[in-house]
């Protein structure tokens, strides 16, 4: 299919080369997704989705225009729209990257891909449901498994021409129990990877969380020790990383502006943006503008080191682009982190619970990120959390919320676990910290 993409690009390139413009680029996607879904413990549907399209970006008299389409027979009208919109585009006085050597990264396992079948996924999901229902026969399980198989191809007027194939296999499982007092316990886990992975880890985590939730517990409002699971920490990381894009700095809405090189977080906190993790869902050899991908330090031992930047914001901020431009065929490049990697600590999750003694384990929020998080503050309801006393999980905490500030919360006193989990495209440890908790 990369050959087909190349042929399509050749046809578009011929048209673009005839345009009086400063630069152009052509970006195309061709993706097939296949999935099977179980609802309410039973097989419900099978799905296949094919999406293809291309976008053309033209820079005429330093102004950029953009248009997109699915139809490779309609190139001229796409070019015309791109020309029209270029009249109103912003002044973008930078150059596109040229031909470059691409870094090594393995995006998927060819052998595993050959063996992937919809029928196998159906059996795997049935096995997951059976295992969970063997432990909790009253639970309702929704689950899906799928494979996204896609191609990206990028060509530009500076001589860059490259494409890559990416494949992710994903599983998501959601378990619902309604217990005798009528309360709902909904636990979900998911995983996505470019090669085979062990479903049992997902199942084990789900069963552990259902066990923790068998009884309810209640504690008064106050400031407590808390362990954030990697799933909960991924949402906190969203607030930590907000303000670390070139755009937010350029727009004056980054709380990190003027603070690069300063210690903002605890010494244990280091964050890397690494698009070269083999098989990880956020990996790529080059970004949506043809800038080669590389591993970079965002925060090191609590010191904020750098932001990500695409070509436009790096030009405005007079820094180097970081290879973090993300786009689809129908969108302009936007700055986006690739794989977020946070190194772990030396304590196991189990020992962390013992070490905490009394506190809260937080796994799922409701409404996280709805509040104004620009300054690093957040407020969210707890969807799934448990009270720990004397190192033992006592039961689920309900009707409660937490509110805090990520900068004061992730200070020098935090503890990171040695275990880490992939949550989407983030590789994160469990984190023990202090948090403000309110109950109704």
């Amino acid at each position: 299919m990369l050959e087909a993409a190349k042929r399509n690009h050749d046809a578009i390139r011929k048209e673009c080369q005839g345009i009086q413009c400063r630069w152009w680029d052509i970006y195309s996607n061709d993706v097939i997704s296949r999935s099977v879904t179980f609802k309410n413990n039973m097989f419900h549907s099978a799905r296949e989705s094919a999406v293809q399209g291309y976008g053309i970006r033209l820079n005429i008299h330093k102004q950029t225009g953009f248009s997109y389409c699915n139809d490779f027979n309609d190139i001229q009208s796409v070019i015309d729209h791109a020309k029209d919109t270029a009249q109103y585009g912003d002044n973008e006085d930078y150059e596109l990257p040229g031909k470059n050597g691409l870094p090594e990264v393995t995006l998927y396992d060819e052998q595993w891909l050959k063996s992937w079948t919809v029928e196998d996924q159906l059996h795997q999901l049935q096995a997951i449901i059976d295992t969970i229902r063997k432990e909790y026969s009253d639970c309702i399980v929704d689950s899906s498994a799928g494979c996204v198989d896609g191609y990206v191809y990028l060509t530009n007027s500076s001589g860059f021409e490259a494409g890559y194939r990416y494949v992710h296999h994903g599983v998501s499982v959601s378990v619902l129990r309604i217990v005798s007092d009528g309360s709902r316990i909904q636990v979900y886990e998911s995983s996505s990877w470019g090669s085979a992975f062990d479903y049992h880890e997902i199942v084990n985590r789900l069963i552990m969380k259902l066990r923790f939730s068998e009884t309810n517990a209640a504690i008064p409002s106050g400031n407590y020790y808390a362990i954030l699971t990697p799933k909960a920490f991924s949402q906190i990381m969203g607030v930590v990383l907000q303000g670390l894009s070139g755009k937010s700095i350029q727009r004056g809405i980054s709380r990190y502006k003027g603070k690069f090189g300063q210690k903002i977080f605890g010494k244990q906190v280091s964050v890397y943006d690494n698009p070269l993790e083999n098989f990880a869902p956020g990996s790529y050899p080059f970004d949506g503008e043809g800038v080669i991908a590389f591993n970079k330090i965002i925060i090191e031992h609590g010191y904020v080191q750098r932001n990500i930047a695409h070509l436009q914001s790096s030009h405005i901020l007079q820094c180097d682009p970081t290879g973090n431009a993300s786009r689809s065929y129908a969108t302009l490049p936007q700055e986006s982190f690739s794989n977020i990697v946070v190194p772990g600590g030396g304590v196991s999750f189990k020992d962390m619970i013992t070490q905490m003694g009394t506190g809260i384990i937080i796994d799922q929020f409701i409404g996280f990120g709805q509040s104004n998080t620009l300054m690093g503050q957040f407020s969210a309801n707890l969807d799934l959390a448990w009270f720990v006393n004397k190192g033992e999980v006592q039961g689920r905490l309900k009707n409660c919320m937490v509110a805090d500030d990520v900068m004061s919360m992730l200070d020098d006193t935090i503890v990171l676990s040695k275990e880490r989990e992939w949550i989407g495209d983030s590789y994160l440890p469990y984190v023990m910290c202090r948090i403000n908790y309110t109950t109704i």
Partner: protein, 465 residues
């Protein structure tokens, strides 16, 4: 896109299935995004989409595509997928009445008749208003329009040919004062022409005024309050707190949920009426749902009692109830699922002044930044709040989040005013990866007792008065 209706109907007839549908659309869209001093986006594009969905003995097969020459493959493959696993005890998706819909959005100023230059000029004028205050650090003006031609055919011999015109804007400003940054925004979107986005200077002015007021405001002190929710927040509340709970795909095969959501159960005070109606001319309007069922006025709660829920064909048949015209897909590349349309709380018989008198001391919570529920607990974030003392609005407060148990909070509705207003915008509802689906929500002012407010100083639950 030229669709040969006879050819598509012939292909449908050849499908071996209990039920099948073919949907196709062609969409031309313009999108503009201005930030304070930059044109972030100015783009125009065209997309073609289609899908085939087939039901056979309890299983759905769904294949979607973006080039129409894949249709024959999609028809064959969707049938194969629907036969992956057969269930002996599966219910049949019965044939329904056929509908023929041929509709076009009524517009005063067609989107095609307005040049890109005019669209840009208007957005620059709005942006200039947002930039007026020195306190405003960043602005966003987003404009989006689309003209879509949608076709749907199913095995009931329903055929739909719908040409829609959708247009909307959103304004936001981030004000900064020292280290405090405060965003505020408004959005307007509707089916119609360019007239919908013209003359909204007052909205832009309100955005900049509110953001600059809020940045100097104090944070709400967290705790339990009696609150009055304005119509916009009342709408978000009912959408999040009860609308999602009424979507039958959460209930239909779950015995415990069926017990909890049993028709006839009391969920609120006698003055509470909750309705979903996709036929109303707001952002959630649909001429017909994506399974070919006409939308209707569905009472979810009548006089405080659960009286109905939102259905697709599948959930309705499995629960022995009637479809309600709520099977909606975000686009032709996604399968229809049970979704809300225009969801609202109907008018009560109190006046807004009476609500304030009754509140005495508490909070008046205004606007909505968003909301989420897990069908038991909810959170939603008002844009801002006012302190209320002895029934009078006092100082403005920022950073407020409402949280609580759905069932307890519905029962805690103490009074309902008579000023129902509907709201929709460029954003929308999200479910199972399909977002943002155009919906509207609204209601009158509501007085709700004992609501947990998150904000400054969380860590205490003392009731505030």
């Amino acid at each position: 896109m030229v669709v040969d209706m006879t050819m598509v109907q012939k292909k449908l007839k050849n499908i071996k299935a209990e039920y099948a549908e073919i949907r196709m659309s062609e969409d031309e869209a313009v999108s503009i995004h201005l930030s304070k001093n930059m044109v972030e986006t100015c783009k125009a594009g065209k997309t073609t989409q289609g899908s085939v969905r087939v039901y056979n003995r309890g299983c759905w097969g769904f294949v979607s595509f973006t080039t129409l020459d894949m249709m024959d493959y999609a028809i064959t493959h969707a049938q194969e997928l629907s036969n992956l696993q057969k269930k002996d005890d599966a219910v049949t998706i019965a044939a329904m009445q056929s509908n023929v819909v041929n509709k076009k959005t009524k517009v005063l100023k067609p989107l095609h008749s307005v040049s890109l230059e005019e669209k840009m000029e208007l957005m620059h004028r709005y942006n200039a208003i947002l930039k007026r205050s020195q306190l405003v650090e960043n602005t966003n003006v987003v404009y989006r329009d689309s003209i879509a031609h949608y076709y749907m055919y199913n095995t009931d011999e329903t055929s739909v040919d719908y040409e829609s015109s959708f247009c909307g804007i959103s304004f936001s400003a981030i004000a900064k004062d020292g280290t405090v940054m405060q965003p505020y925004g408004e959005s307007i979107a509707q089916y119609g022409g360019f007239e919908l986005v013209e003359d909204n200077y007052a909205v832009a002015e309100k955005v900049v005024k509110t953001a600059t007021e809020l940045v100097k405001a104090e944070q709400v002190q967290s705790g339990l309050y009696n609150v009055i929710a304005d119509p916009k927040l009342a709408g978000v509340f009912i959408h999040e707190a009860f609308g999602h709970l009424s979507e039958a795909d959460f209930i239909y095969e779950n015995p415990r949920m069926k017990e909890l959501m049993v028709i006839g159960r009391r969920f609120g005070p006698g003055c509470l009426q909750v309705i979903d109606d996709g036929s109303l001319p707001y952002t959630g309007y649909i001429p017909i749902d994506d399974e070919g069922i006409q939308p209707r006025k569905t009472y979810l709660i009548k006089d405080g009692i659960l009286t109905g829920r939102l259905h697709s064909r599948e959930t309705a048949i499995k629960m022995g109830e009637q479809p309600t015209g709520n099977a909606r897909a975000i686009s032709c590349t996604a399968p229809p699922i049970v979704r809300m349309t225009n969801t609202y709380i109907d008018n009560g018989n109190a006046t807004v002044d009476e609500l304030f008198d009754r509140l005495g001391n508490g909070l008046y919570v205004v606007g909505a930044l968003g909301g989420q529920t897990n069908l038991e607990m909810f959170t939603f974030t008002p844009a801002y709040a006012y302190e209320v003392k002895r029934g009078k609005k006092k100082r403005i407060l920022r950073d407020c989040m409402l949280s609580g148990n759905v069932f307890m909070t519905l029962m805690n509705i103490d009074a309902i005013a008579d000023d129902c207003t509907m709201y929709g915008g460029l954003g929308g509802c999200g479910k199972q990866g399909q977002a943002p689906l155009p919906v509207s929500s609204g209601g009158p002012h509501l007085l709700i007792k004992n609501v947990l407010i998150g904000g400054k100083g969380a860590g205490g639950s003392k009731k505030k008065s």
